[in-house]
């Protein structure tokens, strides 16, 4: 019986055309990865949508409450604060990273002694784990014993130690400085690679025609890097808007919510307060923005893939 069915199965399988066998093998090889992706991304995403319509609190059964969470969140003062902080951190942070990365790439694109070594050193912040970067900078900004206060006091620029991370005026700037420090090498690497691909004849021709350095930058470098700039900025927008570890380590969203960003709010509300329904709602409200960015970015990067292939 078992022998028969085995023969039967083999007969059936070999009866398939090569094309269909390729289909089966192709899908079969995807199954393990797909299983995890569906279980860990698609299913939780669907669950988050459901949770956002409930009053789920950790340890208690949930009730369906319709749009109540959404209405509550929109009116909650912290929510507006969170949106503003997240947008500020992402947009200004990415703009600064792009600017610093660009100036660094322009400098590294020149010929000078020790360039390879210096390039490797300047890229180091990108290789530092984010939690380590957060710890280092929290220590640098420390109000009692931090290097910055020590140096500024020593130079006579301040009279008393400044609580950089504990003052609503400075906390966001302090967090942003770490975001930029950690992230700009990524831009520099990408821009530098892009610059190497711009033919130098274009610069020579422009120089002969009397274009000055600024004009050459504006009309040759920038158009040549347009695509790289778009991709790096969008990637970085997604990453920066999702910053958690740096904020958690440096300020935990404080002081007085001055650095409360999107992921911090979800963590505070969902994990610390246990109010999972409201936390899921906060995540849901960010979905349209992230989805828009990801869809556009995926299309861009996928087009690159086709050209490379």
């Amino acid at each position: 019986m078992s022998v028969q069915s085995a023969v039967l199965r083999r007969y059936r399988y070999s009866d398939l055309t090569a094309r269909h066998k390729e289909w089966i093998l192709g899908y079969a090889m995807l199954v393990p990865a797909l299983f995890f992706i569906i279980g860990l991304v698609a299913y939780p995403a669907a669950w988050a949508v459901y949770l956002s319509f409930t009053d789920k609190v950790i340890g208690q059964p949930e009730r369906f409450v319709g749009l109540q969470n959404y209405a509550w969140l929109v009116q909650w003062p912290n929510f507006g604060r969170m949106i503003w902080n997240t947008v500020l951190l992402a947009v200004v942070g990415v703009a600064l990273k792009a600017f610093v990365g660009m100036t660094m790439a322009l400098a590294l694109n020149e010929q000078f002694r020790g360039r390879t070594m210096i390039r490797a050193v300047l890229f180091l912040p990108w290789t530092v784990p984010a939690f380590v970067a957060g710890l280092i900078w929290r220590w640098l900004y420390d109000d009692q014993n931090g290097l910055f206060n020590w140096a500024l006091l020593g130079m006579g620029l301040i009279d008393a130690p400044v609580s950089w991370l504990g003052d609503v005026r400075f906390a966001m700037g302090a967090v942003m400085s770490v975001v930029v420090w950690k992230g700009f090498p990524f831009f520099a690497i990408a821009y530098l690679a892009g610059m190497q691909a711009i033919p130098s004849e274009q610069y020579e021709a422009a120089e002969v025609d009397g274009a000055n350095a600024w004009q050459r930058f504006l009309f040759i470098t920038v158009p040549g890097l347009r695509h790289v700039m778009l991709v790096t900025c969008m990637l970085s927008l997604i990453w920066t808007a999702n910053t958690f570890d740096l904020v958690y380590i440096m300020t935990r969203g404080g002081p007085s919510n001055a650095t409360e960003v999107f992921t911090m709010l979800i963590y505070d509300q969902g994990i610390r307060n246990g109010r999972v329904g409201e936390a899921a709602t906060a995540a849901m409200m960010a979905v349209p923005i992230f989805t828009g960015l990801i869809v556009v970015l995926t299309r861009y990067l996928q087009d690159d893939d086709k050209e490379v292939a």
């Binding site: 995890f36 939690f131 861009y300």
Partner: protein
């Protein structure tokens, strides 16, 4: 692709012009010097704090260049503040995550690059899409899932949840590498009687070995650096990984910056070395792709 970032052999014209003027040199050197200072100062301070004695770190007696060196901070980190425990947890989670991911991503990437079937293009596109979905959107429902599965406060929760970003990331990297390897040799092997899987195992994978190593290294560092899931899913100290364990040393009343910086040095150095070695492959791949448009 390897040569994209390398300097052209001949001095060439750039945005600053082809002449080697003094003004241009001053601008370039000043920029480089400034950025070197900004990049190195925090790293120096981490290193310096890890080998300084406590009386040179706090209060008015801070010394920028320490006059005495000590390994006491490393000793305190390892023997008093459980650095070794966090380290072994991080290594265990990282290795298991990497092994699982590399296996599944290799199969998936081979399928998406070499085999032809309906829906392949859409599936390949969704790999990148899924990788870009931020963890901040997912950790609440993942927390509920782990709770329901009874996996909270176990390293299995981390290994499993890390697959949500490491599989798409690793698959996407490997798709790039596999595409860069011409299929002719595998086809020749198949004509000689090898099966699809044999041609993958015996022909493609040995050729893609550098790419596989790079993908594995990056997957490992993703797991090594991960903070949010590790914070949320692990509640007991004995299962903590390095990021959350070290961050837990921030305590208002006692100064633990010495051990924390010593731990940071130990946590960062291996990743920095691996990254610097493997970084070229990742960013050049990304940049080379992006440049084409």
């Amino acid at each position: 692709m390897q040569g994209v970032i390398e300097a052209p052999a001949q001095p060439s014209a750039s945005v600053f012009g082809s002449t080697r003027g003094r003004g241009k040199r001053i601008v370039v050197y000043a920029t480089i010097a400034f950025y070197l200072f900004v990049v190195l100062l925090p790293l120096y301070w981490m290193f310096r704090s890890s080998i300084a004695e406590n009386d040179q770190m706090y209060g008015t007696s801070i010394e920028f260049f320490p006059s005495k060196f000590t390994l006491a901070q490393f000793d305190a980190a390892i023997n008093k503040w459980k650095f070794g425990l966090y380290l072994s947890n991080s290594i265990a989670v990282g290795l298991v995550t990497t092994a699982l991911t590399t296996l599944m991503a290799t199969l998936a990437a081979y399928s998406l690059v070499r085999l032809r079937y309906p829906g392949r293009a859409a599936l390949a596109r969704s790999v990148l899409f899924v990788y870009l979905i931020p963890g901040g959107l997912l950790f609440i429902p993942l927390f509920m899932i782990m709770q329901r599965l009874g996996l909270l406060n176990s390293q299995l929760a981390l290994v499993i949840s890390y697959q949500s970003f490491s599989i798409p990331f690793c698959t996407w990297m490997l798709i790039g590498y596999f595409k860069g390897i011409p299929p002719e040799m595998e086809e020749a092997a198949q004509i000689d009687g090898a099966s699809r899987l044999q041609s993958m195992w015996l022909v493609l994978l040995p050729m893609a070995a550098p790419g596989l190593v790079a993908a594995a290294v990056f997957t490992f560092t993703l797991a090594w650096n991960e903070f949010l899931f590790a914070l949320v899913f692990i509640t007991s100290d004995s299962f903590r990984t390095l990021p959350v364990g070290l961050a837990g040393l921030i305590r208002g009343d006692i100064y633990l910056w010495g051990p924390m910086m010593a731990g940071s040095v130990l946590a960062a150095i291996p990743v920095m070395v691996l990254y610097t070695l493997a970084n070229r492959m990742l960013v050049q791949g990304l940049a080379a792709g992006a440049v084409k448009g």
